[in-house]
């Protein structure tokens, strides 16, 4: 797997969400992703970035265009230094939320992208990595 383009964005306020989504769209358009796949990726990104703002009051996102076996895709890595997640498995379940939300953020985002990885250390922070390939599989 090789990285073709790489960029980092700081997310500290809710006003950063829309510019961030536009940047993700820019990346997805660059590799010729179809509209439906773009929408899925951006929606997942939006969920994750909201989580980051809500629970860790911000963090950074690394945006990359990657290529593997002649297929290109977009990889997003969300890194925060928030309180972390005690029970990752539980947080990945539909309808579970410690806040007042619908609890669709993490599990919903996982359903929208091709690859989803989460690691979290309580007290240190959470890292979520998602990959969506050009053809959506």
């Amino acid at each position: 797997m090789i990285t073709l383009t790489k960029d980092t964005m700081q997310i500290v306020r809710e006003q950063d969400v829309v510019p961030f989504r536009n940047r993700v769209r820019e990346y997805a358009t660059k590799i010729g992703m179809s509209l439906v796949n773009q929408t899925k990726l951006i929606t997942a990104a939006s969920e994750l970035v909201r989580n980051m703002l809500k629970y860790a009051s911000g963090g950074k996102v690394i945006l990359e265009i990657i290529s593997k076996n002649a297929q290109s895709g977009v990889r997003l890595t969300f890194v925060d230094e928030g309180p972390g997640i005690e029970n990752v498995q539980q947080a990945m379940q539909d309808g579970f939320s410690t806040g007042k939300s619908l609890g669709l953020g993490l599990p919903g985002a996982r359903r929208l992208v091709n690859e989803f990885n989460i690691s979290s250390t309580p007290g240190q922070g959470t890292t979520v990595t998602v990959i969506h390939w050009k053809h959506g599989r």
Binding site: I2, V36, N69, A70, G136, R137
Partner: protein, 289 residues
């Protein structure tokens, strides 16, 4: 340290290796000069050899997964995927790497004529490395072929999901064959787009041609119905056969929120009712008036 020695020797002999490799390739009966020109082959070969010599310059002949070999893996992937698409056979594709092995061992044999132990060790090492690379080539070759198959599947999917405008405001979509997730995706996209294009408010999904409905297929159907509703249109599922109704109930799938009909005709009738359309025989209506 010994490895570095070998790497330097090969670096010095680069020209000769390339020549002998080219000769090997051109001499082999598996050469496909109808598919690739000699100039193109030379350019490809030179690029790969250069990358290989760079990769081994630190004495790493062992670990092809390390960062030094990234460029090689990329070039090889590129070459084999392209060749798979162009219709090269596996043998013809792998010959490319294996003939480089021949060229490398030939060169070592000449240079180390007086040091049999060194030669033995080096040949083993080079063999192992090139075998590894050949395996990589073969793997990506197969992936390239899989891609061709996937693309064809896509094309078949595309063809096999027509959206028909049966009436003003009513669309019908006959599904034939198994409904898996990628197919559902295409069905949904086509259907929703057609709803927008025609401004239709009812869509009939006919599943007479779906061999079996398990919980996964049912889930896909439910998703399609939900998406249609989000757009502001209603979805009717028709063509539900007896055995399908049985499995649905036995599996405990809840379709109570979805309008289902046994045949396309009765679904159409329901749709007419929903749109307040009356259809009757011309003679009949005249006699009424």
């Amino acid at each position: 340290m010994d490895n570095n020695n070998t790497a330097q020797l090969l670096q010095r002999k680069k020209r000769e290796i390339l020549e002998s490799w080219m000769n090997n390739q051109l001499a082999d009966e598996a050469l496909r000069d109808d598919l690739i020109s000699n100039e193109e082959l030379r350019r490809q070969s030179e690029e790969l050899l250069e990358a290989l010599l760079k990769a081994i310059s630190n004495g790493n002949f062992e670990n092809v997964y390390s960062s030094e070999y990234e460029q090689i893996t990329d070039i090889l992937s590129d070459v084999s995927v392209t060749r798979a698409r162009q219709g090269f056979s596996p043998r013809e594709t792998n010959m490319y790497v294996l003939s480089l092995k021949q060229a490398l061992t030939d060169t070592l044999e000449q240079e180390r004529r007086n040091q049999p132990e060194v030669l033995y060790r080096e040949i083993l090492m080079v063999n192992k490395l090139l075998d590894n690379l050949a395996l990589t080539t073969f793997e990506t070759y197969l992936k390239g072929r899989e891609e061709v198959i996937l693309r064809q599947t896509d094309e078949i999917n595309e063809i096999s999901t027509p959206v028909i405008r049966v009436w003003d405001g009513i669309l019908a979509l006959p599904i034939i064959g198994t409904l898996d997730s990628s197919r559902t995706q295409i069905v949904m996209e086509n259907l929703l787009q057609e709803i927008v294009n025609t401004g239709s408010s009812i869509a009939i999904l006919d599943i007479s041609g779906v061999p079996a409905v398990d919980s996964l297929v049912a889930q896909h159907l439910i998703k399609t119905v939900s998406a249609t509703r989000l757009m502001g249109a209603e979805c009717i599922i028709s063509g539900v056969r007896a055995e399908i109704a049985q499995t649905i109930v036995h599996l405990g799938i809840d379709l109570s929120n979805i309008k289902t009909k046994a045949s396309l005709a009765s679904a159409l009738q329901l749709a007419f009712g929903m749109l307040n359309i009356e259809v009757r025989k011309a003679g009949n209506s005249r006699s009424l008036k």
